[in-house]
């Protein structure tokens, strides 16, 4: 399937997940997306951890911050501003729903970032600049991960391994500075290679096939199914 069709399908799946209200349907969708993103092997690890942590955080925290439902399962302390902390069955269901929606969107992004050929996506895009910016931003995740590993290794080499949350948080500023520097270097190289010059051409794209049409139709079906039946 060409990347444009795959991207449209993933967007449809995301829309479907955000509109769906049935936990089992969302659960199945998350498992499917998990299986697809696992095809990327070790590269999928940071995306999977990021998604699962975020979803877990939403599931654990949101029942405490909401005041919905009548079937109280647990009642705790009274906190200024928030009121009494409690957990109801309805809040748990809603939290699970939101966590699964978030997981589905996160995993769909992982599939987009890891398995789609962004170069062909850029080549096919009408808004080439925006798609190129999105592709470069997508590449930022593994670059930042590699830079972070380099920083930790450099400090360990000096006998200064960062420890705890505070130690690792101190690396954020140099990481940001490093990525800005990379960005400037890349912008310079792009300018030198003629980016932004009028009259650009593009490598001819392969013709649409039945599978691509099926992908786009699948996107519409996924969004409609999420809104109407799931």
């Amino acid at each position: 399937m060409r990347p444009t069709a795959a991207a449209v399908l993933l967007a449809g799946v995301c829309a479907g997940a955000l509109l769906a209200h049935r936990l089992p349907a969302l659960g199945v969708l998350v498992v499917l997306l998990l299986a697809v993103s696992a095809r990327a092997g070790r590269r999928a690890k940071p995306y999977l951890w990021g998604t699962l942590y975020s979803a877990g955080f939403v599931f654990l925290l949101s029942p405490l911050l909401q005041s919905t439902g009548y079937h109280v399962l647990w009642e705790g302390w009274r906190v200024p501003v928030l009121g009494t902390l409690d957990v109801t069955t309805e809040e748990l269901q809603l939290a699970a729903l939101n966590a699964l929606r978030l997981a589905a969107v996160g995993l769909a992004f992982a599939v987009y970032a890891l398995l789609l050929d962004h170069d062909r996506l850029i080549a096919a895009a009408t808004a080439r600049r925006s798609v190129l910016a999105a592709a470069l931003a997508t590449r930022l995740v593994p670059t930042l991960e590699r830079d972070a590993r380099g920083l930790v290794e450099a400090l360990r080499g000096r006998g200064l391994a960062p420890e705890g949350l505070h130690g690792h948080a101190a690396l954020l500023s140099p990481l940001l500075a490093g990525s800005l520097e990379r960005g400037l270097n890349l912008a310079e190289a792009m300018e030198a290679r003629g980016f932004g010059r009028p009259g650009r051409t593009r490598v001819p794209a392969p013709p649409w096939r039945a599978l691509d049409a099926l992908g786009v139709a699948g996107a519409v079906v996924a969004a409609l199914a999420g809104a109407l039946w799931l």
């Binding site: 380099g150 290794e153 080499g157 300018e191 010059r197 051409t201």
Partner: protein, 468 residues
């Protein structure tokens, strides 16, 4: 008529002093012009001026005139010069835009408006020319530094430029890789301006040499004349330094996977303390093949050992095992005392906002100031590390490991981006402090290895150990 010319060019970056001072030079069609000069002498700025990036991209104060193929760069944007001019920058990772090799090479062709039907053939020809045809379709993130540099060269050559600008393009390559890079890059019809820190590798290819210092042209002469001038005025750039401690001997090839070597340095033939012993150590990254397979190495206090070998032979991995940054998956590594390790490209991995604080992470401020002075950075204590030049950053990073006064000092490619004079100073500094520790230097730079080391351990790709 000259293909490109700089006439009375003076330039200052927005946040800096004078980078170029009244520079006049020209490049003839088909000529290979070699730019030499210490770090910060203005070589990269000359290349940027020829590409139009100075002043368009960087801003700053620009006086004089730069013409490329008859076009004044003050009136022509860099993007409009693309195609006529093509640049290969120092760090391939910072110039790759797209994710796959063929798309990356096609990027410039698309930008300059090449007819779509011709792009695929041009991409294939360029990749073939640099010996990178087998990389077609591969993800750029899967490539080694050397492979990536070839892809960058292919991207430049695909444009069939009249002027090819190469900014220290071989800094990540071993000598064989660098030679084959020059063989490909410098044999075309384009005029070439090449900035290099390894003059010995580049000089045979040059028609003319320009030597820059503090932004001024000190020499502009044909190669043979330039060689004579370098020998007389800048011997570090012309004559290969020798280490009088290193006993000359023929290389000994050993076919086994491991070897323990006795020091050649006659001063160390006694009972020097063993600081680190690696015995039949193996290590593989993830599910890949072993990067190091059954290697042995012994490092004694007072000696400097150069670990050499081509790209991908496992030098850095073996060095990390020795320093304790990696745990051996088989075999053993024993160390006594404190070990420190300086990564490749350490300038990227600085964490503080003042140079003295960066070095002071490992010691008190007074020792930090002394360490900065030792590496020639006295007076730079309060500067932000990212405001330093790349060569200065490398030296700052060196100070961060020297200040800890380790028992085992491991340096991974410490001469990358460093000019021959600084290299000689680094060798002198390491030799002066050698008695206090065992030192392992991983390097592609054979002349540096010969100038600094008591012995050399070489890893061949098949893990054959070569000992000189």
């Amino acid at each position: 008529m000259a293909l490109a010319s700089l006439t009375g060019l003076s330039f200052s970056y927005p946040d800096g002093g004078l980078a170029l001072d009244d520079v006049t030079l020209s490049v003839e069609p088909g000529e290979v012009l070699l730019l030499l000069g210490p770090s910060g002498s203005g070589k990269s700025t000359v290349l940027r001026a020829l590409a139009g990036l100075v002043p368009w991209f960087h801003g700053g104060r620009f006086e004089g005139r730069v013409e490329v193929a008859g076009r004044d760069t003050r009136r022509t944007r860099p993007a409009e010069l693309a195609g006529t001019v093509a640049t290969v920058f120092q760090d391939p990772e910072d110039q790759v835009v797209l994710g796959r090799v063929d798309a990356e090479v096609a990027f410039g062709l698309e930008n300059v408006g090449m007819p779509p039907s011709e792009i695929a053939a041009r991409v294939a020809d360029a990749l073939e020319a640099v010996g990178a045809a087998p990389l077609t379709g591969r993800r750029v993130t899967e490539l080694s530094g050397g492979e990536l540099q070839r892809v960058c060269l292919a991207s430049a050559l695909a444009l069939a430029p009249q002027l090819l600008l190469l900014d220290e393009p071989t800094s990540q390559l071993d000598p064989e890789g660098a030679e084959s890079f020059f063989d490909v890059a410098l044999q075309g019809d384009a005029g070439v301006v090449l900035s290099e820190q390894h003059p010995r590798l580049a000089l045979p290819y040059a028609d003319r040499v320009v030597f820059l210092e503090r932004g001024r042209v000190l020499l502009d002469a044909p190669r043979d004349e330039a060689l004579a001038w370098l020998e007389e005025h800048r011997p570090a750039w012309a004559v290969e330094p020798r280490n009088s401690l290193l006993q000359a001997s023929e290389p000994v090839y050993r076919s086994g996977p491991s070897a323990v070597f006795e020091p050649c340095n006659s001063l160390l033939q006694g009972e020097a303390e063993v600081v680190c012993r690696v015995e039949r150590a193996s290590y593989a990254y993830g599910d890949g093949p072993p990067a190091v397979d059954g290697a042995s190495l012994e490092l004694r206090r007072g000696e400097i050992v150069a670990l050499t070998g081509p790209n991908g032979s496992g030098k850095s991995t073996l060095a990390k095992l020795a320093a304790g940054l990696l745990e051996a998956q088989a075999g053993s590594v024993t160390r006594s005392g404190r070990a420190t390790f300086l990564l490749q490209d350490p300038g990227r991995y600085l964490v503080c906002e003042r140079a003295v604080d960066e070095v002071g992470l490992g010691a008190d401020t007074e020792r930090a100031r002394r360490a900065l002075a030792d590496v020639g950075l006295a007076g730079h204590e309060d500067r932000h590390p990212r405001d330093l030049s790349s060569g200065e950053r490398e030296r700052l990073a060196l100070a961060t490991v020297l200040v800890t006064e380790p028992d085992l000092l491991v340096l991974d490619e410490p001469t990358r981006g460093i000019d021959p004079e600084r290299k000689a100073q680094l060798a002198e500094l390491l030799r002066a402090q050698a008695h206090a520790r065992a030192t392992l230097v991983v390097t592609h730079d054979r002349s540096f290895a010969r100038s600094v080391a008591d012995r050399e351990v070489s890893l061949a790709p098949e893990r054959e150990a070569v000992h000189a």
